[in-house]
């Protein structure tokens, strides 16, 4: 599996577009800046929804109204984050696919997606009698806490990707190389 990923990344690396993005100071940095700036839109909205469920923000606005109205701007921000995120991986494919932090981030993204699905299911199934209450019912509060934890960790691990602590060329064979998916004898990093 790791070898397959490595070969795929090496193939992506042969693309002229990948090289061009990577080598363009302004293009690469603007894509990364856009990725980070859309945190303000996507996570900003998400945090407000979660904090509203927990009774810490916008408590004078009905909880389901917050969740429904902020969904669209949140999804717009999320879409931009996905597009720019994939472009960043495409620009630096080998190092990205062998980043232990990106791998953990992907797992957390899947967990956050499952949590979001369950949260929306619980929100839709609730009778809405609690809508004006300061705090949402327990199952929604748990979903909100998990969402805050998952996304907090996603941002932390996303930030760690920039650091080369566990890059394949700087580590010895062992646990970190195993988790990073380093391939024996690989020539590209």
């Amino acid at each position: 599996m790791n070898e397959l990923l490595y070969n795929f990344a090496v193939w992506l690396d042969t693309h002229q577009l990948s090289t061009s993005i990577h080598e363009s100071y302004y293009m690469y940095n603007w894509i990364e800046s856009t990725h980070v700036l859309t945190l303000m839109l996507c996570l900003g909205m998400l945090f407000l929804i979660d904090l509203r469920m927990l009774g810490y923000a916008m408590t004078n606005v009905p909880a389901t109204t917050i969740a429904k109205r902020l969904n669209l701007p949140m999804l717009i921000g999320f879409s931009i984050m996905v597009i720019t995120g994939l472009t960043l991986v495409y620009a630096v494919p080998v190092r990205s696919t062998q980043s232990i932090w990106l791998r953990v981030k992907m797992v957390l993204l899947i967990a956050a997606a499952i949590n979001a699905f369950l949260f929306h299911k619980n929100l839709t199934n609730s009778d809405g009698s609690w809508d004006a209450d300061v705090r949402a019912p327990k199952n929604l509060r748990i979903g909100a806490i998990l969402s805050l934890v998952f996304w907090g960790l996603i941002v932390i691990f996303g930030r760690f990707i920039a650091y080369d602590w566990f890059d394949c060329q700087y580590t010895d064979p062992g646990l970190s190389q195993f988790l990073s998916g380093c391939v024996a004898g690989q020539t590209q990093f």
């Binding site: 303000m40 900003g44 945090f47 407000l48 606005v61 941002v155 920039a162």
Partner: protein, 195 residues
Amino acid sequence: MSSTATLGSNNRTIIAAAVVLAALAFSFLPPRLIVYDNLYGFFMWMETTWFGVIGQTWGAVFAIVEAFHLLAMALLGGAVFVSDFRLLGLVFNDIPAQDVLDKAHSVFKWALAVVLFTGIFMACGVAGKIYFLAVFWYKMLALVTGILFVFFVKRPLLKKDLNDINPWVIKLVAVSSIMVWVTVAAAGRWIGFSG
């Protein structure tokens, strides 16, 4: 005669605008170099503080604080977008604007406090680098403008009955607010690319 009487009910707004304009003018005039040179010692001292030593010694701590800075910026952005989108009529049109603005402002204040605290920590860790970066000073200018704008322009203005304010002024305030805070975030990100 008091300043309130002299400047009318918008005295805080006028003073804030004057401070921002003076800071902008000063940042492009030669006398800024005198202040800039004198600040070098202060930046060197920042690196010797606890924050500076921790930031330089433990890269992981610096990275985690960086992540919390981003998370706080995300929350701050959420508060800014929600209140400004309401002013632009994009969300929560059926909810009184003051209700949305007041609650969003409480979130904004908490987020700003975390942004400033984590920002100071990070600045101490890389003080010797950022002192020489133009983009750092642009960010500081944008940040001060943003803070003055929120507390001395936006809040005082929007505490009035919104029906008494020209709708275009409200929209202008909302767009300006979004632009200022996006500039703060973008300039902050570019600090990482520079130097």
